[in-house]
Amino acid sequence: MQNFFRKGNITALREMALRLVADRVDKQVRLYMQQKRIPGPWKSGLHLLAVIGPSPQSATLIRWAKNLSYTMGASLLTLYVEPLAKLSESQKDQLGKNINLAKQLGADYLTTSGPDVVRAILNVAHKENITHIIIGKPRQWNLIAFLSLGNFLNRLIRHSGNIDVYVLGSDRTQRNDFFKYISIPSFTSHLSQYFLSAATIGLTAAVCYPFAHVIGYQVVSFILLFVVSILATFMGIGPILLASTLSATVWNYLFIPPKFTLDVARTEDILMLGMFFFIALLNGILTSKVRRQERLTRDREERTNSLYRLTRALSQASGLKEVWEVAVKAIKKHFSLDTAFILQNGNNVLTNTLRPVPIFDFTENDFSVAAWSFRHDKKAGKFTDTLPSSALTFYPLPGTRIKLGVIVIKQSKSLRGDEEIFWETFLTQISNAIERELLDDMANKSLILEESDKLYKTLFNSVSHELRIPVTTIMGAADTLMYSKHTAQTQTSLYKEIYTASERLNRLIENLLNISRLESGRITPHLDWCDVHDLVNKVTDGLKQELLLFKLDVVIPTDMPLVMLDFGLIEQVLHNLVFNATQYAPAGTVIRIKMYYDNQSFVLQVTDRGTGFPENALPFIFNKFFRVEGTKAGGTGLGLSIVKGFVEAHNGKVKAENRENGGARITVVIPSPKSEMSEITQ
């Protein structure tokens, strides 16, 4: 510790601290600029922009820019401007490597495109508040560049305004590769195109030939030029070159006097031929350039579209399952790749289940690769630097707040530079959706926990009260009986109290057992034919004491059929309903049990002449532990929720309502077949 606080260390620490502060302030500035739409740059901090390309030189450039940014304490952004020309495979490879290098070095990465490279670079630079642009000396000299570009660097410097431009010299040793980088137009067009262009020129010439003496051979040149221009709109550069050359030759051979020779007699014809050839060529090349640009735009648009479609589909998906399905479908469509997800289990540990379907042969090893990728937040597996022997590739899903898991893909060739960028954009969208669902799930889980905690508290409060009262009664009565002498009458009433208290306890235990059976979802009704009279008999027998004070009215039609029920469960239902009626209706009133069979269902109604339910309590009376406020002590608020649970276990419905002239009516409807009694008796 003594040695730590040396001057050097302190200075270094101070620098680090200041840099952190600067970073933070800088972010705020940029945010502010974006919010207020202030065009850059503000020289509030240093921001380097390294323009990279698909050459090994760019790697050197990136490293150099990184060093520079480090020494300057500046942020670094790398930019790739998509060229019009197609990249060769080796160039794509190199570009991918360059982009990866930039990311590894902690630089941000952007890609842009535009017909004018200078303008594209400067656009980005202004938007990102760039202060320094670092660029390599351009080496790709092709015809178009030569014709259109003028001096690329000069333009960049001229238009850069107050942005500093660094130009890095190219490596001498790589000079030898110069010719490799001359961009050669691709002659990859199909053979039929060459044939078609030749045939079209031939045909045009043949058609024009008989009229040549009427319209004049100069006009023929215009017709041929016209045809070449049309060809250029839908053909590759090779066939266009062929068409241009061929049309010049044909024109010369067939039309320019002297005919049928390649000689040209007049000087102005030589000039015309030269101009013809040049215009045909330029026309063709420029048109195909426009088409390439158009193709690029179309590609980008297609990507933007598919990204948009993905985003929309993901935002509509609800639940992890749907998100997976949408994602897998989109990836299959766009990348032609099979994918699966492995997500974390909520405790930052990867589960060992592939979602949505385990489409791959997945081994223990693959899981370790997945776990590695998850832990280190880096891609792993095939075509990566880590564990490339695996048959699958694993990409971590980048969550913003939590780690989500990994995505597994099976690819036969690795994703190229721009493809990978697009892939990662895709992944970000998918990850966002997964994160949303995962966090939702977690929130739900904690809600459930909270609910069960609430339930536990209610249970504790309500049940502990309900348990204590009878226990107190029993203890008190037994104590009195044991330790003092009483008249026979007092003794009898104490015994009765004990018995009543134990009945109450027993009822509570029954209810608790039933509710826990319901909660655990283990209720499967044992359906059997039941005589509903038996139900009434059993229940009224069990509640004989309670019913003594009431007029019981049982209404069952004489042709009541047998119904399919779980006798025990419906007995409990009826018991709870009748018991409730005895508790809340005034003594001497009528309690009616009505049963009938209607519309393929068994209907059971219990009505009383009590106070009914308060209107605002009606929606809640079947909830667990719900008790109407101001009702008399005793009761746990479980009875009706058990009724509902048991009835629903029969796929039935229960409804509570108030009667017109006071009192409550509970109706239970249970779908049930009816037995044909007459058939059996015969």
């Binding site: 134990s502 027993n506 029954e510 057992l513 059976r517 044992h526 059997d528 034919w529 039941c530 005589d531 009279h533 038996d534 009434v536 008999n537 059993k538 009224t540 027998d541 049982v554 047998l562 779980d566 006798f567 025990g568 007995e571 037995s675 009694m677 059996i680 008796t681």
Partner: protein, 228 residues
Amino acid sequence: MMETEHSILIIDDEVQIRRLLEITLSASSYKIFEAVTGNEGIISAASYSPSLILLDLGLPDADGAEILKKLREWYNKPIIILSVRNAEDDIVHALDNGANDYLTKPFRSGELLARIRSALRLTTTPGNESLLTFGTLIIDLAKHTVKKNDETIKLTSTEFSLLALLAKNAGKVLTHQFILKEVWGQHYIGQTQYLRVFVAQLRKKLEENLTHPTFIITESGIGYRFGN
């Protein structure tokens, strides 16, 4: 009040239940033996040969149903099962495996004594009497006639077989499947609607008050018992 002293073996692991049963049953002049585990119960049953066994189905050392099976290999006197509620399947299984009756905890002492009395009586009076009398109801098994308040009640032959089966086992619970097998035959096991319909018909002919039957009593989810 007992002519011969009956002995009862209680097999239950709960000391409080054993104590309660001992007090209740001793007060009714039964001689009591106690066993805490199933295996101890089997040994006690073999050494004391009690007139009746009260067997708890939820024993710690062995499944009550297993103990019942072992006991039934040689013990032919009544066994009454003690069980908890909502265990209808276990009870039916035990009854089909030779238990004579059942009681669910918590039970009333009066109920327990009634079950014990009826189980003991059924063993002491083997069913060779042809005339069964239950209050105003007289069933003549030999002549296939039933009289109530001296009036003859017309029954179909199936109705009579059902009534006779229940009456011969008065006080004892008979499971649905047992009754179906005895009255209708092996093929009718599971066809409870027959049983329901015929019980309903019998009740209409026999009972005074259909909402409070006293002769044919329903045992929820288990079977029927003929009241006495």
